[in-house]
């Protein structure tokens, strides 16, 4: 593939050199230089461009992190590590603590993940194993991908006007405070939003399970269900989990839909029905009106905390994916 382009071989005429051996050697050198120039130029410069692009992404990430750290310096200097454990968020008195928001973000995201897996995993299996080709499956696939395209504000509205009354009547039946909004509502809305990410990836991975593995299982007398459970899922496990990890990343950062239905209460949540608040939601709500260096830098430090939480979870997830892949 490295341009063994013999068509450009130049044959030195006998007259230019004293003997045929030198002429042959010169021809060969010329040809090799030309070949390497052609392929080497495109090959190494292409590689350099790729490296450069990769490094750009890395530099961007580090730049984001550094700018967050620098901007939140006043807050870091004032509160230190206590910021992560403080439970008061009082802009008037200048006391800021991130714990209720961290807890709210994590609970809502993980709950949304659990809810979404119940829908996305069966969908992946359905589309990846049972009905892979055809009009209806393609239609369903497009619909799922459309879910990802709906703006999050729309999800927020639907959550506020359609889902909240339902949750409220449930709370009335259970005898809890009928807020309607809260962790449960936010988790439900969020779970629908993140289905496409895990469903699409899961479907692809399940589709890619080698047919001979499946056929071997079938030939040994396994039922469809057993093949799914014992061959397909273990094989596709790491890929499915990677898809779920992507959903989690989306869920952690989702702002608009969550802020409309989470209740925006700055207290630590006490139950699944209580209102709460998430990091992204607080930043979005209070940033425009924030005046004062400490207030602003505390909000930016919330962003830094969110950034680090997302990074930690992603790293942990990658470790688990690799673990799963090796085993499977």
């Amino acid at each position: 593939m490295l341009g063994n382009d013999t068509s450009t071989e130049l044959k030195y005429p006998m007259t230019l050199s004293k003997d045929s051996a030198t002429a042959d050697a010169l021809t060969k050198i010329h040809a090799r230089v030309k070949a390497r120039w052609k392929s080497g130029f495109s090959e190494s410069s292409f590689r350099k461009i790729l490296y450069f692009a990769g490094i750009c992404v890395l530099v961007l990430l580090v730049a984001i992190f550094l700018s967050l750290v620098i901007a939140s310096f006043p807050a870091i200097r004032r509160f230190g590590v206590g910021f992560l454990f403080g439970t008061t968020w009082d802009p008037v008195k200048g006391e800021f603590g991130a714990l209720p928001f961290v807890v709210g973000t994590l609970i809502v995201s993980f709950l949304a993940l659990i809810f979404s897996v119940f829908l996305s995993l069966p969908t992946s299996i359905f589309l990846g194993e049972y009905f892979t080709e055809g009009g209806t499956p393609t239609f369903i696939k497009s619909m799922i991908e459309l879910l990802a395209g709906v703006p999050s504000v729309i999800y927020g509205f639907c959550g506020l006007f359609l889902l909240t009354p339902l949750v409220r009547s449930l709370e009335v039946k259970l005898g809890v405070a009928p807020y309607g909004v809260g962790i449960l509502t936010a988790a439900l809305v969020l779970s629908i939003m993140v289905i496409p990410y895990s469903a699409s990836i899961g479907r692809e991975v399940i589709n890619l399970v080698p047919t001979d593995l499946k056929e071997a299982a079938f030939s040994l007398g396994a039922t469809r269900f057993e093949v799914i459970r014992k061959v397909i899922l273990p094989y596709a496990r790491s890929g499915i989990f990677a898809g779920i990890l992507l959903s989690l990343g989306r869920a952690l950062g989702e702002t608009m839909a969550v802020t409309m239905v989470i209740g925006n209460s700055n207290f630590l949540p006490t139950s699944i029905f209580s209102p709460s608040n998430s990091l992204a939601s607080v930043i979005a709500n209070e940033f425009t009106e924030a005046t004062g260096r400490l207030y602003l830098s505390s909000l930016i430090e919330l962003g830094l905390v969110l950034f680090m939480v997302t990074t930690v979870i992603n790293v942990l997830g990658k470790v688990i994916v690799r673990r799963m892949g090796v085993e499977g």
């Binding site: 009928p178 909004v181 802020t259 209102p275 709500n285 209070e286 425009t288 009106e289 924030a290 005046t291």
Partner: protein, 359 residues
């Protein structure tokens, strides 16, 4: 994941791309032609945005000066003014001493109109309720938790109050409405002043948060037994029930445009940095507030031309005089006569290189 249907003809994609490029480039050049017309930029409070929109539109038609106002919130407006990126700021809140010291130069607060904050609620049968200041404070402090509490029923004889829990709804985002409301509560309740205080974002002792006036309104309308606060205009336009409040002079006043303007019918300080809530005016609605235009007193900064400074002063003068005609049709409360007098003095004190611009 979204498949952009296989383009069978690369020509189609090329055409679209070139069309988009032409459109983008033309928008860049469209702005260059009008470099000669004076254009003013303002930013800030969202509350007066509909009013300013209309005002600036009328002003443009009359005087040909274009005014661009970005409603990014009072905090944003103050910050942009301190950074000197805008000609004037809009704010529902008075600048704090900390902000003023950051600005390093005196900033004038010129009122442009007034608004009111009303208490809205959701009760079966929507009875018309009356509240006193201490009841409102204690409800929002979480001390009064039931609608049929003795204190509420005392003030509202003849109204059947249900045995429901009061659910408080407040703003989740920072807002001038919250500033005005919390200023009122701080004035009428020492406990509120100590526990919570006044600000655009607060550490609410109880309740849910809704984003924007519409968020609070949405939550209140959906939740029976809830109570919240919204701008008067918003409540009127959305036909929400709101209560009458007892003011400092002991009168129960219904919030409307007239009573909001009347709240400013009292002794006002010269620098107009006054928070109207709990006003002395006998017929004034107690939870009213000004919204201000903020400008630097000395207009020669960051290389501003005298012409621009003059245009800014002319604009603000027009807003506080002829522009006031636009307020009432849009349900904003116009400035009272006393407020206009004080505003005139302030506008006349704006200088360029030490010399007052408007004689």
């Amino acid at each position: 994941m979204i498949h952009l249907g296989a383009s069978s003809s690369g020509v189609g994609v090329k055409k679209v791309l070139s069309l988009v490029t032409i459109l983008l480039v033309s928008t860049i050049f469209a702005g260059i032609g009008h470099a000669k017309d004076v254009e003013l930029i303002g930013a800030g409070a969202t509350f007066p945005y509909p009013l300013y929109s209309k005002m600036f539109d009328v002003y443009n038609k009359e005087y040909g000066v274009k005014v661009n106002y970005q409603s990014i919130g009072s905090g944003g407006g103050i910050r942009q003014l301190i950074n000197k990126t805008v000609d004037f700021g809009g704010s529902d809140a008075i600048m704090s001493d900390r902000d003023l010291s950051e600005a390093k130069a005196p900033i004038l607060h010129i009122p442009s109109c007034a608004g009111a904050v009303v208490i809205t609620y959701n009760l079966p049968g929507t009875p018309q309720l009356r509240f006193t200041p201490d009841i409102i404070a204690d409800i929002f402090l979480g001390k009064i938790t039931k609608w049929n509490d003795r204190r509420i029923s005392e003030i509202n004889p003849g109204v059947k109050l249900p045995d429901m829990n009061i659910m408080v709804v407040h703003r989740s985002d920072g807002s001038g409405t919250t500033f005005t409301f919390s200023d009122y509560l701080s004035k009428v309740s020492p406990e509120w002043k100590e526990k919570v205080g006044r600000g655009t974002s607060l550490n609410w002792p109880t309740g849910l948060g809704g984003k924007g006036n519409e968020g609070v309104a949405g939550l209140v309308q959906q939740t029976p037994g809830s109570i919240g606060y919204v701008e008067l205009i918003y409540a009127v336009h959305n036909k929400m029930p709101y209560d009458t409040v007892k003011n400092k002079k002991g009168n129960f006043v219904t919030p409307n445009i007239t009573s909001t303007s009347k709240a400013a019918d009292t002794n006002l300080p010269d620098d107009m940095k006054v928070m109207l809530p709990n006003t002395d005016a006998p017929e004034g609605y107690p939870i009213s507030g000004f919204t201000w235009i903020l400008v630097y007193k000395e207009q020669n900064y960051a290389g501003r031309s005298e012409e621009k400074a003059r245009e800014v002063v002319k604009l603000i003068w027009w807003m506080t005089h002829e522009g006031q005609k636009i307020t009432e049709p849009l349900d904003y409360a116009p400035l009272s006569k006393k407020a206009v007098e004080k505003a005139e003095k302030l506008i006349k004190s704006v200088t360029y290189n030490g010399k007052p611009i408007m004689k």
